[in-house]
Symmetry: C2
Subunit: 147 residues, 2 copies
DNA sequence: CAAGATTTGGCAATGGTTTTCATCTCAGAC
DNA sequence: GTCTGAGATGAAAACCATTGCCAAATCTTG
């Protein structure tokens, strides 16, 4: 209350061994975003929102989130890493709009099956896959028909 | 006509408008590699092989090769760009060994179909996809069973 | 052989990500 | 409440792949 509100409501997340305000803030920001963001953008957002947090911590936390399975990661065409909160335990794939940047999760059951089959027929083990889909969403297609 | 021919001994490749020794060297090195390489590694290889060529030229040529459809590109987990010669016109997908780095092309017909279907059902247009498969190849699995 | 245009490649600049390390914070002990 | 040590933070520097810049080298044509 009157003291520094360390804001530790209910289920705190201890990503690096100890739950901290910064980690909770980053996770919350990622959840609110509901879409892929770069560490840089997320940092800028938090700063301009008045939250004092270092870029290093953002990177550390995001990396920990990915390792903990709480976030998905992908790379945009320029090689920048993007992160997105992942509610469930199983990994997802997304279709991302090249114009507005929005992304929607897609059903990837077929891909999973396909990947498994490839693994079997090739003799490879521990096969992991990354699928990145990009396109122009309906809205953006209408806005610029003659792209 | 040996005169009108734009200096093409045996099918020279003119990526930037004019066929040059460096461009041919880079392309040949990429073909010989038969697998994904980074620009840096390709450069190191050529240098240690006695070929004098600048890193800048490697990048320029590789980029041109990709644009010309003669090379595939992907990013390794660290975000570095990798290039691989592509004999055919249609694009391929590869399964890459995380241990030895070798990669093999895989049949991706199902993925193509899947991607198209996603595009249709989502309302997105101009959907492009990138698929990256990694695993441990049979040889490496035997070498280190308890990985 | 000279003029003009294109390519090359060393070097500096860019920019995202990681490392370093001194400082700060919190949980538990006293 | 205070002390204390392990762990977390973050500003700045280090990294490193990639790109931009531009003078020198090379090829084409007249």
């Amino acid at each position: 209350m009157t003291s520094t509100d360390t804001t530790s409501p209910q289920g705190e997340v201890a990503l690096l061994g100890r739950p901290t305000r910064q980690q909770a803030t980053v996770l919350q920001a990622l959840i609110d975003r509901e879409d892929f963001v770069s560490a840089q953008v997320l940092h800028a957002r938090l700063i301009s929102a008045g939250t004092r947090v270092g870029l290093t911590t953002i990177y550390r936390t995001l990396t920990a989130l990915v390792e903990a399975g709480l976030a998905d990661t992908m790379r945009d065409p320029e090689g920048e890493r993007l992160f997105r909160h992942q509610p469930g335990p199983d990994h997802r794939h997304y279709l991302r709009c090249r114009t507005c940047g929005r992304s929607v999760p897609v059903d990837s059951g077929l891909v999973e099956t396909w990947a498994d089959r490839i693994a079997t027929s090739s003799g490879f083990t521990q096969v992991a896959h990354t699928v990145e889909l990009t396109g122009i969403c309906a809205d953006c297609t209408q806005s610029a028909p003659t792209a």
